[in-house]
Symmetry: C2
Subunit: 370 residues, 2 copies
Amino acid sequence: MLNFRPFQILRSLNSKRARFGVEMRSVFWDYSSNQLKMIDQRHLPARFEMVAFQDYRQVAEAIHEMVVRGAPAIGAAAAFGMALAALASRASERSTFLQDLHQAAEVLKAARPTAVNLAWAVNRILRVVQDSPAPVHELRALTLEEAQRIADEDVEVNRRMAEYGATLIEDGDTIIHHCNTGALATVDWGTALGVIRMAHEQGKRIHVLVDETRPRLQGARLTAWELEQYGIPYEIITDNAAGFFLRRGEVQKVLFGADRVTANGDVANKIGTYMLALAARDNNVPAYAVVPTSTIDLSLRRGEEIPIEMRSPEEVLGLQFKGEPIAPQGAKARNPAFDVTPARLISAIVTENGIVYPPFGENLPRMVRR
Amino acid sequence: MLNFRPFQILRSLNSKRARFGVEMRSVFWDYSSNQLKMIDQRHLPARFEMVAFQDYRQVAEAIHEMVVRGAPAIGAAAAFGMALAALASRASERSTFLQDLHQAAEVLKAARPTAVNLAWAVNRILRVVQDSPAPVHELRALTLEEAQRIADEDVEVNRRMAEYGATLIEDGDTIIHHCNTGALATVDWGTALGVIRMAHEQGKRIHVLVDETRPRLQGARLTAWELEQYGIPYEIITDNAAGFFLRRGEVQKVLFGADRVTANGDVANKIGTYMLALAARDNNVPAYAVVPTSTIDLSLRRGEEIPIEMRSPEEVLGLQFKGEPIAPQGAKARNPAFDVTPARLISAIVTENGIVYPPFGENLPRMVRR
């Protein structure tokens, strides 16, 4: 058993180190050493480890290996990765500097294909630098400033989403939550789990059924761990069991985040979301996606256009139960990391600008642009 | 890696030992030692172990602990358990003997509540004994004979289901299969997996997407292991991924067994079946339940009346990934072992008497009684 409360430790770490006096962050810039620091989420809940990065290539690798995961968190990590690239660039000419940044941008954006926040954050850094007439040494600082701004904004955006979303939650609700969408998946606070946390802090009594979320078990590993920190009652269930509890009438809301939302309201999210949303609809339980507008990709019309990442079979086959492997050696597996839930199954999309209801094709663009 | 082909070993074991010259059985009576023998399915695919039973209480325990699982297999195991009780009874009076058998029947039926085959097999033994005017020493033999008949019939019934079911499978089909319904889940051959095996033996090219089937991973552990033996191409997927492949149009059929079917066609089966059937329907892919008529319980009108077994949280929380636990210590979990798929999501029910199509309320009773 963990004999410490890791978030409290992180909070005290951060209060000493971070620049903006935030309480706790999963991804942050350490100004004393000019390093990017992140919680290594692969080892939770067994071990709480912070890792430091000085090279943007390592950041790309960490995103690919899911040291850091969650669409908003990988956006912030990539933004700081761009800052590392800027600091490491030896260019004295503006054009060479931009070339270095573009190279880093390509590497970072290639780390994972589905979450649009990654490209969104990297492109935002590039745009700010390109638009600035400042000399190269100032552009370096500008890159870090913009990355820090992306991280700070993420916290603020999450808090606003949580406030809007909490209006949907009623006292006594049992909520099924898929994957991890909490402080670990963002810079702080969380998207769907942020809504749950906010409702809890408002005094609403909530019970969370935590989808374990195979294959990487972000629900069992990370969401359960966060809920322990927050003191919110929960039970872990297998993903298979969500339909059982929905059909028994025990569930009032289904909540999840997203990795990309297209202009028509189709939602790419962690594999399994589609079947969960089907089961919610079949039982007249509302299913809400909680997403910052940076996750909404108006350049794509529908979910079929979203690139879906296929990950290693090892994530499926590498489990043990009581020390024994769970599949015959040499077994093959296929491992799509995301699926697309069609807009017709989404009851509403909660953003930092407000709650969007169908028809999404009409209402979503308005919400993003305002 | 397993360096032997366990089914071949079992086949040779059985060909020496079994009375009826069957090729391979998961559950069988060893006439040389008057013991019930079964494969210990908890350790597959890592280890292949046969276990022997002389006491019906141990059989009940083995059913509860899922040494043997699968509705038809636990029916046969319980029938042989009754034979062990009959052999162990010291009664010389008919009434005392019947009392002993009734006591064993209660213990065996209480081992697992959902699969009706368990009660069906035990009650069938009781009825045969009660209806016979023979003296006690003959009733002992009669009990074993009836148990053997149940086991032998199961093989035959499965083979006939497989033949009916195979008519639904087309050359080139990709099939999603949930849980394990093969030779291991029955006395031999299998229900849904028997259909796949039959279609394969008929020369149809088939690809199976094997739902890993959390929490106990019967798909990854047992179905993958059986498919390896049969030489049928397969890939393991997380249960969450079934919807992804269905939506991509890669799947032509969805197949599963059942633990109990009610008079209206509602199907209790391994947890996750309901969400899988929803995803099949949402993509116009037929979902077939393959069940012996012994699984059809006409005494119940609808699925809500089926008792659903809640199993230990340990089955959900006890996994390791790379040696690390997958949930915070002290985490709670809920673990329903089955769910009910409403008849409206079932395209057809394959039985040993033929294929039943909706309306099931009308067509199912006719098929059971004929």
